[in-house]
Amino acid sequence: MHEFAPLSATVGGLLIGFAATILWLVNGRTAGISNIVGAIYPLRPGETLWRFLFLAGLPAGAWLGFVIAPSVLPGVPATLPAVSLTTPWLIGAGLLVGTGTRIGRGCTSGHGICGLSRLSVRSFAAVATFMATAALTVFIERHVL
């Protein structure tokens, strides 16, 4: 069910790259989710509505992908993602992700896709760092505790 699916992963990645290209060429904006979220407030004319529409597109697109992808791509399960985390765990992790992406000015999309595409040294450093601490966290959870 959670096996490696190279084709759907690559197709998904291509779609993400295409989405980042549209936002850059049409809007002149970088598709960094954490920065799009972070600058939604305070509300400013010309700076809020496009962010809201982009972010509203994410769950809408995810639903479309959930409905369409299993029938056109091999290895995509037709089941909903199983999230098995307790409430305090979700809140604690959410606070860490929100705080960290704001201080580090980017996440997996802004630094990981767009920054690396631009060959940004800052983004290479950020990606190496968050990959390392994330892998360490999973290692401790799965193999130490």
Partner: protein, 166 residues
């Protein structure tokens, strides 16, 4: 509303939809999939799932060219926007590394990074909503702390750095 602003807002929404569809098709909306990538200790046993690396490679393969097209085509401005807006920061500094480190811990604990968490509002809202609300609060608090720190550090340039980067 002008035709230009309809194009601007429409492109933002369309980009979000395609982005979300990509995340969902690649199953990045499933925290289990993220954990199975981050679990590098599973490589020797054959239980490792490299999907996330393929997603990033696919994204970069397109964005590498897409984010350069403005220069290659010598576009003076975006097709429907006022200007190409990019961060002016170049140096690797402490906030970058510290922030990325904190983010990584939260990502490892939950299997959620910002994009998939928001995308999951359309699939498993009851779980994703808690995470997203906490994430927005965390970002807001950190933003206030950063603003204050920057104002203290460089009062003269405070207005120049107040704009969010990237």
């Amino acid at each position: 509303m002008t035709r230009r602003s309809i194009g601007y807002l429409g492109a933002a929404g369309l980009s979000g939809i395609i982005f979300g569809a990509g995340l969902s098709a690649a199953r990045m909306t499933d925290p289990q999939k993220i954990w199975n990538f981050l679990d590098f200790a599973a490589i020797p046993h054959g239980g490792w799932d490299p999907s996330l690396a393929f997603v990033m490679a696919g994204g970069i393969a397109v964005a590498f060219f897409g984010l350069r097209l403005d220069r290659w085509l010598r576009l003076p401005a975006p097709l429907a926007g006022p200007a190409f807006i990019k961060t002016h920061r170049a140096k690797v500094d402490l906030p970058l590394i510290l922030g990325a480190a904190i983010f990584g811990v939260g990502w490892g604990l939950s299997g959620f990074c910002p994009g998939p968490a928001i995308a999951d509002l359309g699939l498993v809202p009851q779980n994703a909503l808690l995470f997203v609300v906490a994430m927005v609060i965390g970002s807001w608090i950190a933003g206030r702390i950063l603003d204050r720190a920057e104002r203290l550090a460089a009062p003269a340039t405070a207005s120049a750095v107040a704009a969010p980067a990237q």
